[in-house]
Symmetry: C2
Subunit: 542 residues, 2 copies
């Protein structure tokens, strides 16, 4: 039976991860942790959950909700409310560990149909009750918090099914609350793949992917989620918008794309029709490369993307520090192969790893791999076979779950990511790293993981000891400085995590006042009373 | 010196095209035209232009415009006003031939800078004067008409330059009024291509491409214009929106895409930053195929798009009637090769031609061509080499200019196009053809020319004798029935021609009232006084 704060901040299956030996070694070496530091268990949140704030929706109204969705699907108990109070943003996890939940939703409601959602939205609009649409709650941007209380709409309990597979069109229509694994397993069983594998894959939903404008690890080939979705159904306070499915069209601007990145502020997305691709894992080609430095790896990657050789699906570069740490944590450090690479001039501290995977027909995958190898060779790389990429794939999701045991031993660990044009990539990478490394005892691992003809993302993971007793302020300041730095150097606010509330304060600076006004006007039209995920999400009012 | 109505409806270089012998043969055979019919010259519009409607903007205001852009850049003479009264929609050309221009703009203004446009928009907003932003006037949807008079903003006179080429990012920033050939020639000279070659290429502009959401003949590989544009600057009555350039991002929904397909109703697009690709024509591979019937050609095309073999850039199928006419007009009919194809079972009346071109690296282009050949072979095709595709490319733009000489001999000739999902393609093709063939003496040529994983466009060209004395009503009824038919069978209103005013009456049915309301709300926010391309464009008010 789940009942503690710890149950909430753990991932969906409540697994207790352990920090692996390799990572422990890095923590000891780089953060100066002693064995006794490592034995500590800090802010573990093992108390039973209790919520002080009373339910702010009166009984009559709760009964009306119950009459719509059934009594079983309206929950107002403390644990349910607590479970929907936060996503997975670092500061949210600290709050949970501190057993601090000042503003939970008043109720968690699990609708069974789109029609029920229409009724709920009507009722909430009538009484001015906030609605926060929720998928897997994996938001790392404070996107699912409920500062205005109201109801959290759990779309995963019932709205989690495939509605229609069209094998001729290669499209699938799916309810927004379906989780990644169930969706992909179904598609694989009928010969397709969704091609969208964010790190949150195991605990995120199709609707969440689209609402937060996510990207999967194979996005270089398959595109971001907004490039895959063809049509949606969305319940807004101003009516149900259902766009038609065309491969492309010219009948005004594309309205479904307004909901890509809308983060619950415009309405409840209930159905999504998206492209699927043929599932042919037997054809996939993998390759890994060592480069002498970051710049040459980036140059090779850019050349691949701009040379008309076709596209890898998975395409990544780990920067020197991430590469060094990968070598340490995977036990590669000090091996013969490590020695050999050093001898060859691929020295620790400057060398970089590149991972590549390409799907498609046998001939396509082989041709792309061959072309990538040739371009990498010209940029001074050393081909190190498929296995480093395959090893990375083994932990493609689980590496995220390390955060909890690291926080148990008092380590602040967070990520931030941005999109940049090629000519600004090294600059933003340097600026963000310099900022982060300014903090004593801070490990910073950076990678590029979503690549385009014209630029790429940059993804930073940092580890540093918590400032005990001042965790939240310390983090807030550090985070603010980091976002300021990235913005000042020309990176986007986000490439695929979204904005939520954590990045909302930068929206006007980043977009300009007229752009933000346009977003607000769209919000005001669709949600005139401001009930949809209110409280500064995306920098929108209320 | 240009001065007649005929000068206006001719294309930009005022060339006098002749109907080629092949087409004359088809007209004689299929439309029953005699030699004396062919000798006729009908509604040739050779009168001097005179405009009855007085200039509706008072002198003081005209002087204020002149003080902004310079007196030379404000024109109110009859010929200038007449030149901006219409695009290239069939009924507009008939009007010109009938020397009928009831609602020209009051003035044609050619701004020199974005700053001047800002001042013009301010002034027009203050006085409620309509603004119609104009590129090459190649609209075939009544998108540049001026039912409310006001000013036509000619963006081509001065705002026609490349602002910046970024060879690292592979992007170019260009003023919206630059014509296709100048743009592409510049890009070629620095090793790039824009990849966007609509049939209107020679007389259309980058801004027009984006505002009308066009597609080029190589869109299967390079994408539609909305897939290529990364950032824009647009002057709206509510302020200047300038989006930042990122390869992709997750900072709210993508605002620049709201202007893709906005058709001048939201503001004046002044700058566009778009992807460019490496220009490597020496690598391009071409292939042409004959298929026994339309269905097998479509099946092969769909299989190519869904098999992960890479993408052709140019990818087309001509349906049996278009194929038959191509054979006749190109003098292929009755040759040995024709006989041989018939013997092999590729019979006139059911056989179809497929054209393919693939750009990119040598290895990529070869691999894609090989894969396409294998898939086509499996679908019963006969490979007929590169030359039919190359022949088609020779007349890729000029075939459009045939319309004028055909109208000279009293032939109604028009096109319509739609986007469909694969599973509905043959149905829409049949429905539209059945409708069109219902009219006596009507030639209907159909092709697929823009192809996606999930569907494609369908493009219909029809020729039929004008109903003399009742040209406009006859056409209006025929056109209405055709659009009704396509919509009823599930095609989109347009794939790449846009909506303008000619398709506006179908917008609410096609999109639904809530979607159209959302578009109207966006319009109302950006253009609260309704001065931007007013008069029902896109079905928006006013």
């Amino acid at each position: 039976m789940n009942s503690t704060y710890r149950d909430i901040f753990k991932w969906g299956d409540k697994r207790e991860e352990k920090v692996d030996k390799g990572t422990l070694k890095v923590v000891k070496e780089k953060l100066n942790f002693s064995d006794s530091d490592l034995a500590e268990r800090y802010l573990t949140g093992e108390m039973e959950v209790t919520i002080e704030k009373p339910v702010g929706i009166d009984k009559t109204l709760l009964e009306r909700f119950a009459s719509i969705v059934g009594a079983d699907n309206v929950k107002t108990d403390d644990y349910s409310r607590a479970s929907y109070a936060y996503g997975k943003f670092y500061a949210e996890l600290v709050n949970l560990r501190m057993e601090y939940i000042p503003s939970p939703p008043d109720a968690v409601i699990s609708p069974r149909t789109t029609e029920e959602i229409i009724e709920i939205v009507k009722l909430c609009n009538e009484y001015g009750i906030a609605i926060t649409p929720c998928g897997g709650l994996s938001s790392v941007t404070r996107g699912v918090e409920t500062p205005k209380g109201g109801i959290s709409l759990d779309l995963t309990a019932h709205l989690n099914k495939v509605i229609n597979l069209n094998t001729v069109n290669a499209t699938v229509t799916v309810q927004s609350g379906m989780f990644g694994p169930a969706f992909e397993n179904y598609l694989n069983s009928v010969g397709f793949t969704c091609g969208h594998f964010p790190q949150s894959f195991e605990y995120s939903t199709v609707g969440g992917w689209f609402a937060a404008k996510g990207a999967g690890q194979a996005s270089t080939g398959y595109g971001k989620i907004e490039h895959m979705v063809l049509a949606i159904k969305v319940v807004t306070p101003s009516g149900v918008i259902e766009t038609k499915c065309f491969p492309a069209s010219a009948q005004g601007w594309d309205l479904h794309l307004i909901f890509a990145g809308s983060e619950g502020t415009l309405g409840v997305i209930t159905e999504i029709t998206m492209k699927v691709r043929r599932y042919m894992p037997e054809n996939t080609q993998y390759a890994s490369f060592a480069f002498k430095n970051f710049e040459s790896a980036v140059n090779a990657m850019r050349t691949v993307m701009q040379s008309g050789v076709g596209l890898p699906h998975l395409f990544r570069i780990s920067d020197p520090e991430e590469t060094e740490i990968a070598f340490k944590t995977k036990g590669f450090d000090g091996t013969f192969a490590d020695w050999f690479l050093r001898i060859m001039g691929y020295k620790s501290g400057s060398r970089c790893l590149m991972f590549m995977g390409v799907d498609g027909s046998k001939a396509y995958a082989k041709q792309v791999k061959k072309s990538v190898k040739a371009i990498c060779r010209k940029n001074g790389s050393f081909f190190i076979g498929a296995s480093p990429t395959l090893k990375w794939l083994e932990q493609r999701y689980s590496s995220a779950y390390l955060r909890d045991p690291l926080m148990d031993i008092g380590i602040m660990t967070d990520t931030i990511e941005t999109a940049v044009m090629w000519d600004n990539l090294v600059n933003v990478w340097n600026s963000a790293r310099n900022y982060l490394k300014h903090r004593p005892k801070t490990v910073v691992m950076s990678h590029i993981s979503h690549v385009y003809e014209n630029g790429a993302n940059l993804y930073f993971t940092f580890l540093s000891p918590m400032e005990k007793g001042n965790e939240l302020n310390d983090y807030a300041q550090f985070h603010k400085g980091l976002v300021d730095t990235i913005n000042a150097s020309g990176g986007s606010l986000s490439h695929h995590h979204g904005v939520g509330r954590s990045l909302a304060p930068w929206m006007e600076t980043q977009l300009g006042v007229y752009s933000l006004n346009l977003m607000q006007a769209i919000k005001n039209h669709l949600d005139p009373k401001g009930i949809m995920n209110p409280g500064d999400t995306l920098g929108l009012k209320p």
